[in-house]
Amino acid sequence: MVSTPSSVGTGVVRARRKRADDVAGLGRARAAAFVVPALLMIGMFLLFPAIWTIYLGMTDYRLTGLAAAHTSFVGLGNYTAAVGDKAFWNALQLTVVFVALSGVIGQSLLGFSLAWSLRRLKGWVRTLVESLALAAWVIPGSVNAFLWIALLDRRDGTLNTLLNTPGTAWLISDPMAMIVIFNIWVGTAFSMQLFSSALSAVSPSQLESARIAGASEFRQLFDIVLPTIKGHILTNTLMITLWTFNTFTPFLLTAGGPNRKTEILSVYIYKTAIGSGQLGFGAAISMIMLLINLAIALLYMRVGRKK
């Protein structure tokens, strides 16, 4: 019997080594010194207001009026009020659709498709396409809103001219579709960037061997590329979900309308907090939004780890 010099059961040791405790010899003390300034900053200007906001969420605090002077603690009253508010459920439902369509599906897919189709391209075409996508990403939201209002204008918007559909009020007839497309337009560049650096790390030899084995482009994609960049996909989905949940720019396009058809949570919060000055209630909704984000994040990570 020939015993082979394989290493059964030693993989554990190797896997652990990747997490070498401290490669740069920072040491805990110095590592702490590196982290503390950022944490102080975050603690002071993020954590502190955040916790305060969470507290406000349990009061009936308002910007003006009697409740501004005599704020009282209402416990979970705002939360139960939100749960009983049709507008809240409407906003939540819209947000889920908006995030799923424009972020998770739209931006990720288009971003990946771009990264994938441009990966072997050099020269002006790539520069052009990337620059356009990135320009949309860096242009400030308030400007973007004007660009899209001009594009979708009912009277003589560019889209109506291009499609020869005079008088179509896109933002009234298909408001959700429009803000979804708008958000894809704005945000795709992030996914594109992330995926194109991820793709550059996929080993060409693996793809070669798959191609020689006769795998179609789609097979290569699913068998080799996607598993390799799984981590990037998870990062991308997490970030995009969070950002899309919080994006406020659609408000500049539709102001939540018509008839609340685009009143996503961030808009709903804005309307309650600034529009009607109900800061306590607004804070509670923000907190609910945070918890939803948390749940989604946990779900993603569970799915991501399973694959």
Partner: protein, 359 residues
């Protein structure tokens, strides 16, 4: 003196796994020393512990007379070439080689001169302005070496130095490395999973498994006198034939035959379970029965150029032997294998330690 003394070294991870589990090694000044073992055996961890990149849980490490166990890596007088070379992608070759000098605040002019001189010595003269990404694998390796030796370290550590090169280049680099080590006379430890590389390069080899040293010896010792079945099977370009048998009246019953036993170093009673081993290179065959031979049927013949590897079946067991290509048997042929008793080894079936044979 830059000899290395390692005593009772343990590296335990927070999860309780011991990467290095009680290792004693002595490396002489100027010696070319290999740490050999399958992946995950702890050889790289040991090397990194010597470099100071891993903190040691127990035990002691001395370089020369200095206790280096808890000394910062930068203060050990140790240089290392990483498996991936770890050349800084944003620096050109010259800056890469001179980086250790820059850390030591050597003036720029001197740095450049040293880098140029070292590069020249490693035939990298024309490449000083290139970035690592623009170099071939062999060139990258030499740059990494140049950077490691630019500071004249006391100890040079190489982690799988040849593994990223293609087969032809690897042979070339082997010779080059050996020559360089000899010229510099620097105490050198290198890690490899390739026994041929270890055999070819090292003055002595430490074979490791599961964080422990199995055997330390010259290439000849580990080849001819492996301490246990693990070393026996790990060393050699073709794995040793290891077959179960039992001792009986000064002979070994194996493969249904009774073969002469080598000289036993331990007294064992008759009927003791053993593993009988012989290297494929030491087996000969004949088409007719001979004394002390084993009958088998040839199943595969692999042409290796000058030699051929014959795989044969004897009952349920399989045997390998390497014979001259011209005299190889045919597939399906009945053959009788025989070998000189001096070349056979006996291992205890339970402890796997060698109990007979060897030099």
């Amino acid at each position: 003196m830059s000899d290395i003394t390692i005593r009772e070294l343990v590296k335990q991870y927070p999860n309780g796994v011991r990467g290095v589990d009680g290792v004693d090694v002595d490396v002489a000044d100027g010696e070319f020393f290999a740490l050999l073992g399958p992946s995950g055996c702890g050889k790289t961890t040991l090397l990194r512990s010597i470099a100071g990149l891993e903190s040691v849980t127990e035990g002691a490490l001395h370089i020369g007379v200095t206790d280096m166990t808890h000394v910062e890596p930068g203060d050990r007088g140790v240089a290392m070439v990483f498996q991936d070379y770890a050349l800084f992608p944003h620096m050109d070759v010259s800056d890469n080689i001179a980086y250790p000098l820059r850390v030591r605040k050597v003036p720029k002019e001197e740095r450049r001169a040293t880098a140029a001189r070292t590069a020249e010595g490693l035939s990298l003269g024309g490449l000083l302005d290139r970035r690592p990404g623009q170099l071939s694998g062999g060139q990258q390796q030499r740059v990494a070496l140049a950077r490691a030796i630019a500071t004249r370290p006391d100890v040079l550590l190489l982690d799988e130095p040849l593994s990223n090169l293609d087969a032809r280049l690897r042979l070339e680099a082997r010779g080059f490395l050996k020559q360089l080590q000899r010229d510099l006379g620097v105490t050198t430890l290198f890690v490899t999973h390739d026994q041929a590389e270890a055999m070819a390069l090292a003055d002595r080899i430490a074979v490791m498994k599961d964080g422990r040293i199995q055997q330390i010896g010259t290439p000849r010792e580990v080849f001819h006198s492996p301490r246990n079945t693990f070393v026996a099977s790990f060393i050699g370009s073709h794995p040793m034939n290891l077959l179960p048998g039992r001792v009986s009246g000064g002979r070994v019953e194996v493969l249904g035959a009774s073969l002469p036993a080598p000289r036993l170093t331990v007294d064992v009673p008759d009927g003791h379970e053993v593993v009988w081993g012989v290297r494929p290179e030491f087996i000969s065959w004949s088409g007719t029965a001979t004394p002390d031979s084993v009958r088998a049927e040839v199943s595969i013949v692999e042409n290796l150029g000058a030699t051929a590897l014959v795989l044969a079946k004897a009952g349920d067991a399989r045997l390998q032997c390497v014979v001259s290509e011209e005299s190889a048997p045919q597939v399906g042929q009945q053959v009788w294998f025989a070998c000189s008793v001096e070349k056979t080894l006996l291992f205890d079936a339970v402890t796997t330690d060698r109990i007979g044979g060897g030099e």
